[in-house]
Symmetry: C2
Subunit: 350 residues, 2 copies
Amino acid sequence: MTSSLETKRFDYLRLKKFCVEIIEKVGVSKEGAEIVGSSLVRANLRGVDSHGIQRLPIYTQRVKEGLINSRAEIRLLRDNYASVLIDGGNGFGQIVAHKAMQECVNRALKYGVGVAGVANSHNFGAGALVAMEALKYDMIGVVVSNAAPTLPPWGGTSLTLGTNPLAVAIPTKMEFPIVLDMATSVVARDKITLYKKMGKKIPLGWALTKDGRPTEDPQEALEGILLSIGGPKGYGLALVIDILAGVMTGAAFGKDVGMLYDMSRPSAVGNFMMAINISSFMEVDVFKERLERLCAQIKASELLPGVNEVFLPGEIEYREEQDRMKNGIPIGGDVLKDLEKLSSEYHVSL
Amino acid sequence: MTSSLETKRFDYLRLKKFCVEIIEKVGVSKEGAEIVGSSLVRANLRGVDSHGIQRLPIYTQRVKEGLINSRAEIRLLRDNYASVLIDGGNGFGQIVAHKAMQECVNRALKYGVGVAGVANSHNFGAGALVAMEALKYDMIGVVVSNAAPTLPPWGGTSLTLGTNPLAVAIPTKMEFPIVLDMATSVVARDKITLYKKMGKKIPLGWALTKDGRPTEDPQEALEGILLSIGGPKGYGLALVIDILAGVMTGAAFGKDVGMLYDMSRPSAVGNFMMAINISSFMEVDVFKERLERLCAQIKASELLPGVNEVFLPGEIEYREEQDRMKNGIPIGGDVLKDLEKLSSEYHVSL
């Protein structure tokens, strides 16, 4: 049977329905399942397949093992005007983060800015989609999360910090928002997982083996050391993010954050997020006009030889989304095989 | 006369007195001059010579040319509970930033977090020293600033964005705080300026020439393109920082931010900063104990071959500060020559 390895294109609404139904079957409310399903499929739409539906199998497995609580109660532990501390009850990260960003927005409506610390959560998928919640209110969303240790401190080899992503979403009057979503490693760990599933080599410069050799083998990389951006700078950023998201919130931090694929313990991930109410600083229309002028300067840049266009953060993802909404989301290889297994296990048609 | 090129060690208190007196002579209040002088000399103490006393000559020159207003009135333009917007009146960046971080702290005392946008300011020296103001209140300080365009967008060659630094200071119960202070370029522009003044080559990988060739010549680099960390990631960070610090505050942004060494116009730099009240999230002592555990994990890392120790962000600067407080700050070359010129111009002994 190699047929399931061929890449097929799936309509995103069909994929989303599939996700939502399966997540409901593992015990999540209709509303919660909508949030998780939308997050996964929208990551695929935006071309970020590493953070998309390929995660559905591990999520359901973690629910079965009791490592995600599908009926978690999300509690406000501390509430201090513009700042809140939230306990995610070990629930789906997307649902917890959605609630936390809503709290940030509510605080920012009143106080100009709102921040939330989040403890005892789980992987929330693409951080961009959490930050983008703030866009509905013409606010700027900022999200950081810690993650299981895959980065050593600069100069070391012991995996101590996560790739600890940072996402920022900024409303514009263009057809797409500015969305930066970056790991503090050269690439996100799950991008390497995806290369492995696709049977592809990774480029040199993404990772080292356990003993510090450069490698193109995704398996060696997953067992080894991810490289941080800008050397000590990426390490410093990852540390600061772990302090905000992990140390300060009561979540796990450093080596104690559980790996998504480690079935021996919950992740206990922490987040820190913020909504900035632009209208506290200037009229939103004026902000967007000024931002359009800055974006125009960028798009008008002279180009390096061989480059056809410069992109704004989030622009490539927006174009991909337009394309994939029309032409479907390509899925194949082990990812497709895993989804077919889920389909028969949960009696939900793919 | 080559004697002034020899490197001598100066007592930091003597250097600070020199700075403060000269800054007072160009019209700044005693209190303001203390802030600027402390910032410059403390940068030197911490080993960040690029952001230290070497900037005194350009600052005084800019005051003389009317490009820094030595008696600027700092005004609160908007005041919305946890968020404020400040107009720096084109004053010394250190003084404006000091006031803005104080506002952040005051808001964070009440609301859990405080943010400030700053328009019409000037280069504030080392961002670390602004962020570190929050440490006095056991808060976390976060500071970003835009800067004159020296980075092209990723794939382009037109200088559109600044190196736009990010600084974060976090209180600890160790003998030094965690302090991350990084440009979004591989190195800060003034580090290249300093290499030029010292007559040294720069390493490959720091910058390209105007037409995109790698270079070791600091002059070619200063006329060329600084490289951003993590390629598109550093560019994305620089853009987001310019949007927060420049677009949203009413400051100049993108190509319109004035270069420190361009005497034809004011800089009109913008900042965005934040103080996070740790006690809104957990007891500060508990936070510091948890942070100490994370730091212990990092310091215990196995090491790459040839590495003797891993450092926490701010640790090297702390050690340097201990050493230079005792043994003096080394100053030589053109930097010393420039200070000697200032000394005779303003009749202040060095």
